[in-house]
């Protein structure tokens, strides 16, 4: 379970083939691993290292730089309650307490049923809507303690399944490039002429 399942392994190979160098697929593969398990497991990092030809330490070093990759078991719903200035002034502490009471865990913890992980987060760039929180990075604005309890009940009851997919989900419809439209992976060293993003207009333009 912790390594890629067969379907995801196929996807992983597809992702790697998009890049001229396998190493470039490192971050997309971390996303894929997080999508599969809700967090990036040690085994997945080892497997990614094998797939893209780097050491596991390099995978961990790269992945751990990014806040949104999680390396410990994480609930189906990751609740980030903002604790920075605007939200703190507008009652973020009460929101956190309500969530802690309702879930029976402290900030930083995960419920035993594996459904919720609760975090106090830094500013989420929604100060005008304080206090705010995110569930799997979906905003909830101007929250109240009662609203938090209701949100948790709704999540538990599965009422928000359509809006909020499990933690780690990147997209419900995966990008697929038909082979006839795929440009293919071109090694930067093999590129001749001007970069592709410069529109070709007049012969000799740009010189």
């Amino acid at each position: 379970m912790a390594r890629f399942n067969d379907a995801n392994l196929t996807t992983a190979h597809e992702i790697i083939a998009r890049y001229p160098r396998p190493k470039s697929a490192l971050i997309p593969l971390l996303h894929l691993a997080q999508e599969q398990n809700g967090y990036v497991t040690d085994e997945a990092m080892r497997q990614i290292a094998e797939l893209v030809g780097v050491t596991p330490a390099e995978v961990l070093g790269t992945g751990s730089f990014y806040e949104m990759f999680r390396f410990e078991p994480t609930g189906r719903y990751l609740i980030n309650i903002c604790g920075t200035m605007s939200c703190a002034l507008m009652g973020a502490r009460e929101l956190l307490h309500a969530a802690e009471r309702s879930l029976g865990i402290h900030a930083g913890g995960t419920t035993p049923d594996g459904l919720f992980t609760l975090h106090q987060a830094e500013c989420q760039a929604a100060c005008t809507e304080a206090p705010c929180l995110q569930v799997n990075y979906r905003y909830r604005f101007k929250m109240t303690p009662e609203g938090v309890e209701q949100l948790i009940d709704d999540l538990r009851a599965g009422k928000l399944d359509d809006e909020i997919p499990p933690h780690g989900t990147l997209a419900r419809v995966r990008q697929h490039i038909p082979s006839d439209r795929a440009v293919g992976a071109v090694d930067p060293d093999d590129v001749v002429g001007p970069p592709a993003w410069i529109p070709v207009t007049v012969e000799g333009a740009g010189s």
């Binding site: 050491t55 596991p56 330490a57 995978v59 806040e67």
Partner: protein, 772 residues
């Protein structure tokens, strides 16, 4: 700029009002270093790419737009550039950076190994503000954690300069440590349960500019101001890395790499760095020993032991002639040692001598046009017909890796197993055992390969890639290559310490047939009256273990001159003479290039041990010959007269070998072909008697292709029985996809049954494998 300098490679810049000539393309800090203007720095290292990580080298640089603070390790020199390393702004910037670096750095200098030689400590004194305004609690981490059995990491002391992680990735190619987390939590870390088990991990300790990385064998052993040091040369293998030997209270406490532009660039492998422990090991021989009963060696005096030795040799010479005396070894000593023993052998007419133990190549390889390491690292093509250099000559591996990754060198590798350089090789060709030279010949016919070989200088690195295959295969391959590329030069990858020096000084067989193998075969036939082992341990090192045993048993008398009590001495020697080891004697040594460099005595010899040359000179005197030397300097002078001058290449005059032709060996009904080779940590005496690295000797086992394992019906770690017509052993099995099917690889000198029991000395070794 209209004024174009005549020398386009020189750029004129002004540093603190002084005009200096900088090299085109170099960074400001490198130019100021050469001009004697010191800029403080932590992350910059001349042998690694600059990263501008620590910001300590900020100086005011004016490129025409007015002075600006810029990191001097990241700014290339430009004509007319004005640099001020002492301006008020520069000083304030450097003080500010130091204050920031020290904010989280614990001031535990009194208990830190680095204290006294610490760039952070030194530069805090020379360039720091003197006082810290930081009164808050510092960052805390668990105090030192093991990132490998040899290296401990103290993250509190770390200033995140990126030297160790850059080294691991860029230089060693083992990116097993990396920055993890970000911001305030950034730290150097390994992957969980995957230690920093690089062959080069000790270098990170040496280049760490703070006490964050410390070496387990040196922790709390000495303070830097109590250490005495001399420059010397490492003789763990024959690359000849320059080292600095550090001792305190007459004990060797560590080796540090010294930057030699021609050889090691400051790097050392962990085996070379940490096997200093063997100098003071329990198994050192302190007094001469004589055998008083079959299982008993008793201490005696030097005069007594020498008298017995001289009597034994003169009796043998008188009764059975010089043919009945043989000298094996010499590769562990200095050039002077080898010269003295070769001169003694000459004086008494002994022709049976060999510094190799059937584990290298015929001495004729030294008679071919020779390449230097620099030649190899700058060649257009390097052809490897050699063992895995990462395991056997790690620093040569680093130099060639650098040439392939950073330079324009292309590597063509011939190997039965693949090697550490495989992933950097332009072509890596698996050579079936017994068909090495045929594979080389077939590859030469490839037009692409031929075009590559014709594109520029070619260097052939030649060594014994498989101890279970005849050396003729390698020699025939090299001859085929030099025939195809007549301008190609050869870098002999003969592994043992001073083997090149010993061979060139005269401890080489007169003909290729008179080598160690034939000497021991003669001994097994009872033809040898006295066999002298000069720092040689055939029981542990000869690929054919059975022949070593029969040869030592068949020799009437065995004299062993030995630093450590070896298996051959314990079991067979009639007289054991204690020899001084490296760091206990002075002289010169010769590396694979033929480069002569000095080794220096740093500590007093163990017990009454003597250098090999002294024993040879005294023995010659006792036998009525005067070698005409009375000190090591006399011999060094003699050798210098013969071209062996420290610091230069000893050309010598070894005759090239005869052309070798090899057939292909038909399978003999056994189903697998054996590859035997060495790994970094093997049973070598200096490894086994150094506690820190002895623990790293592996469990051993046999590697084979996963499909062969499947066919055999075994999975990883299962035990299998390997049999040849010589013997049979049981080993654990592990899968290795690098191998061809039908080929199995076993490392020797590991903590397993001895695979040398399978080897007979034929052209190839075919084995049968069964499940147990």
């Amino acid at each position: 700029m209209t004024d174009i300098s005549e020398n386009v490679d020189t750029v004129e810049i002004t540093v603190n009002g002084k005009a200096i000539a900088a090299k085109k393309g170099e960074m400001v800090i490198a130019a100021t270093d050469r001009a004697g203007e010191h800029i403080p720095r932590f992350c910059y290292h001349p042998r690694m790419a600059p990263v501008g990580m620590c910001r300590q080298c900020l100086v005011e640089i004016d490129t025409g737009r007015g002075p600006m603070l810029q990191p001097s390790c990241m700014v290339p020199v430009a004509p007319g550039m004005v640099v001020d390393t002492e301006s008020e702004t520069t000083k304030r910037a450097q003080e500010g950076i130091l204050e920031l670096l020290l904010a989280n750095h614990p001031l535990d200098c009194p208990v830190c190994d680095k204290g006294g030689e610490c760039p952070l400590q030194d530069q805090a004194f020379s360039h720091g503000p003197g006082e810290s305004r930081y009164v808050e609690e510092k960052r805390h981490y668990e105090k030192p954690i093991d990132i490998s059995p040899l290296v401990k990491l103290d993250r509190e002391r770390c200033i995140l300069c990126d030297r160790c992680t850059r080294f691991a990735d860029e230089v060693a190619g083992d990116a097993l440590i990396h920055f993890v987390e970000r911001g305030n939590a950034t730290q150097v870390m390994t992957y969980p349960d995957e230690p920093f088990s690089s062959h080069f991990s000790g270098n990170t300790v040496q280049i760490c500019p703070v006490g964050a990385l410390t070496a387990t064998p040196y922790r709390f052993k000495a303070r830097p101001w109590d250490l005495e040091q001399v420059d010397s040369t490492c003789t763990s293998c024959s690359v000849g890395c320059r080292i600095s030997v550090h001792s305190s209270r007459d004990r060797v406490l560590r080796f540090q790499g010294v930057d030699d532009d021609d050889v090691n660039w400051g790097w050392l492998c962990d085996r070379g760095r940490f096997n200093f422990e063997s100098v003071h090991a329990d198994v050192r021989v302190g007094d001469p020993l004589i055998r008083t009963a079959p299982d008993r060696l008793e201490p005696t005096s030097w005069s007594g032991a020498m008298a017995i030795t001289a009597d034994l040799i003169s009796a043998a010479l008188a009764s059975a002639g010089a043919e009945s005396v043989a000298v094996l070894g010499g590769a562990r000593g200095t050039n002077e040692d080898a010269w003295a023993w070769a001169s003694l052998a000459d004086a008494i007419g002994v022709e049976r001598r060999d510094a190799q133990l059937d584990d290298g190549l015929p001495a004729g390889i030294l008679g071919m046009p020779r390449a230097t390491i620099r030649d190899a690292a700058s060649a257009a093509t390097v052809v490897l017909v050699a063992p895995d250099l990462k395991e056997e000559m790690p620093i040569l591996h680093l130099r060639l890796r650098h040439a392939a990754v950073e330079g324009n060198t292309r590597i063509i590798e011939f190997s039965p197993t693949g090697s550490g350089l495989t992933k950097h090789a332009w072509r890596s060709i698996r050579t079936p055992v017994g068909a090495t030279s045929a594979t080389v010949a077939a590859t030469l016919a490839d037009p692409e390969v031929a075009a590559q070989l014709a594109s520029g200088p070619v260097v052939i690195v030649a060594g014994r890639m498989n101890l279970a295959e005849s050396a003729d295969q390698v020699m025939a391959s090299v001859q085929a290559l030099t025939a195809a590329v007549p301008t190609a030069t050869v870098l002999p990858a003969l592994r043992r310490g001073n083997v090149v020096g010993a061979l060139m000084a005269g401890l080489r067989p007169k003909t290729d047939d008179a080598d160690a193998r034939s000497i021991l075969a003669a001994a097994a036939q009872g033809e040898i009256e006295v066999l002298v082992l000069v720092g040689a341990d055939p029981l542990a090192d000869l690929p054919d273990a059975d022949l070593a045993h029969r040869g030592l048993a068949g020799a009437k008398r065995v004299i062993s001159l030995d630093g450590h009590l070896s298996a051959s001495s314990t079991e067979f020697a009639d007289v054991v003479l204690p020899a001084a080891v490296m760091a206990e004697k002075s002289g010169t040594t010769t590396n694979i290039e033929g480069r002569v460099s000095t080794v220096t005595q740093k500590v007093t010899v163990h017990g009454t041990a003597r250098p090999d040359w002294m024993v040879a000179v005294e023995l010659a005197s006792a036998l009525g010959h005067d070698l005409g030397v009375s000190s090591v300097d006399d011999i060094t002078a003699r050798l210098a007269g013969a071209g062996a001058v420290a610091g230069s290449i000893w050309q010598g005059s070894v005759p090239p070998g005869q052309p070798v032709s090899v057939g292909t060996s038909a399978p003999n009904g056994y189903d697998m072909r054996l590859v035997l080779s060495r790994v970094l940590y093997d049973g070598a005496v200096s490894t086994r008697s150094s506690a820190s690295i002895a623990a790293l000797i592996g469990p051993g086992g046999v590697s084979m292709h996963p499909l062969d394992m499947e066919q055999l019906g075994v999975v990883a770690a299962d035990e299998v029985r390997l049999s040849t017509d010589r013997g049979s052993i049981v080993l654990g099995v592990c899968p290795d996809e690098r191998l061809d099917r039908g080929t199995v690889w076993i490392p020797i000198g590991q903590n397993s049954e001895d695979p040398r029991l399978l080897v007979g000395g034929g052209a190839v070794t075919d084995i049968r494998i069964e499940r147990v």
